[in-house]
Point group: C2
Chain length 305, copies 2
DNA sequence: TGTTTTGAATGAATTTAATTCATGATTATC
DNA sequence: GATAATCATGAATTAAATTCATTCAAAACA
């Protein structure tokens, strides 16, 4: 018999395009999902996907179920928001402190969506770049901070959002384009183009260059497009989230390369005061961010608490 | 985490008004449902019903989930119909043979609903009362017959619809109104008013009067209201489905009494040719009949295959 | 006002179902 | 054509749902 669990799987399948990735997305093994899909197809006595292809393709029947899934899960989310409001009221304050430039890309759509669902919650962005976003929480000048490390701290809890890969980008005809994988040394004789933020907020700096004691020339820019433009004009190299550069890759302006054998992974957490962790609108904000981000940004991976 | 199973339970709860009856409706024990509801309330951290009352009352949060349930389960049904059509086409023929008068009461709404969902299926009623409705199936003059006993027969399968109680009705000031429970003997000196059908199609006759060799005076009428009217005017007594007389009981025209210590139970099955049992529209017709009937007729009970 | 009946709750035992593990098969990739 | 990567499968395991046996609470009855 059909359950919501099955529909959640279908959504993950569509968003990831493969059984293994979908499994990871819903915190199950590939095997579990394979069994689950087999069971579904047996129940409806017809195939729901063609697995021979990458990404997998839904059959007509599969598409129909997928449409059902989207419809139903939206409605469930909406009902659960109502229950949360019934339980503990609908008003509150949610000031978000952001320390990364690219965060705005996914934050804005999520905030839009949230604003519609919780009109009585005062949603705001604490602007400017702060060395210590968690300090803003403790001094009550913000209620939620987006951070890239979950450093334990009294009175603060960290809720995982998602992880993604930072890739090195360079002009197509630049010598580094020949290397599949870059190491710290490869940056030594380049100009690194990055956002104007403190060094410790740059993942590349913290995790790659600093440990290897490599310090390339630097140049900064506020805007992602500007950085891409500089890279394309051979003014330097940069490290950016894969999902942020993908559109430019497809147009061929620049090429992307892995940094380090395992790739350079970037993680994002929401930090909030422990006392606020139970607030319904707070939890819903986090769900919204995750849901919207996974649905729209390519290549995200889940991040365990 | 919420699953459709929970929503199916909520619907059953509303339709029956009690945990025990709802449990029977969804083929589980009372205990199972009690655990399930406890889990649900723990998940949403708030009560969903007040149990102190009979029938139980939903809280605001409960009502919200119930609305979700109705919405979602409708959509699931609709999607599953689409899948069935994708699998095996949407056209066909469905001629229904009916042997009981009251059947029309629940059959018509179900047929209306079905017609909208399967416009390409030719739906028809084989009119007139036939001594052998199953014969109509074998000679292909009907595709589905509503019968009250599942007599095994080659090439025919019986699918349970539902069961209900037949009650004796009598005028308020008639002596029999004093007796809580009627026995066969109580009919001996009464005039029995019934539909004009062969005796073996009258449950009261088959199961009560014939075994006890009691044969009261008889009088027939085609219409339920007319029978009620005759009973109210002290022209006799009748035995009718509880759900059919309930509205008249509430207006006080007549009173209803149990027949036999255990009550006189009536069962309904759909008989169809074995080869047709797998047809999607056939199965959907049966689901529709059950679903609509349970939702609208009071006092129905489930009937196991 | 007991007494009996009925419906719901609870904890432990059980059954059922979902999930993982280990591995083989299949399909992409270079 | 070799080598990953992805998916499928059966058995083992784990987790979850359900039942069983009982208690508790409330309502109906005498």
């Amino acid at each position: 018999m059909l359950e919501l669990r099955h529909l959640r799987t279908l959504i993950a399948l569509q968003e990831t395009g493969s059984v293994s990735l979908a499994a990871e997305r819903v915190f199950l093994t590939q095997s579990a999902l394979s069994h689950q899909l087999k069971q579904l197809e047996a129940y409806y006595q017809q195939p729901l996907f063609e697995r021979k292809t990458q990404p997998l393709r839904f059959t007509l029947a599969g598409e129909r179920l997928l449409a059902l899934a989207r419809d139903l899960l939206d409605k469930v989310a909406s009902a659960e928001r109502d229950l949360a409001r019934i339980r503990q009221g609908e008003a509150g304050e949610l000031r978000v402190a952001v320390e990364c430039h690219t965060c705005f890309d996914w934050l804005m759509p999520a905030m839009d969506s949230f604003r519609q669902h919780w009109p009585a919650v005062e949603l705001d962005i604490v602007s400017g770049f702060h060395a210590d976003p968690v300090g803003l929480l403790l001094t009550r000048r913000a209620d939620l901070a987006i951070v890239s490390e979950a450093e334990p701290q009294a009175g603060i809890v960290h809720q995982p959002l998602f992880a993604y890969e930072m890739v090195g980008i360079v002009a197509r005809d630049h010598p580094l384009a020949e290397k599949k994988v870059w190491q710290a040394q490869d940056f030594a004789n380049e100009t690194l183009i990055h956002y104007p933020v403190p060094d410790e907020m740059l993942d590349l700096w913290r995790k790659v260059l600093l440990p290897a004691r490599v310090s390339p020339l630097r140049r900064t820019s506020e805007l992602t497009v500007a950085i891409i433009q500089l890279v394309a004009s051979r003014r330097g190299v940069a490290a950016l989230p894969f999902w942020a550069v993908k559109p430019y890759l497809e147009r061929g302006y620049v090429v992307a390369r892995r940094i380090g054998e395992q790739g350079l992974s970037s993680e994002l957490y929401a930090a909030l005061r422990s006392e606020d962790a139970g607030l319904a609108y707070m939890q819903d904000f986090l769900s919204t961010v995750r849901e919207r981000s996974f649905a729209t940004l390519p290549g995200l991976t889940v991040l365990e608490g």
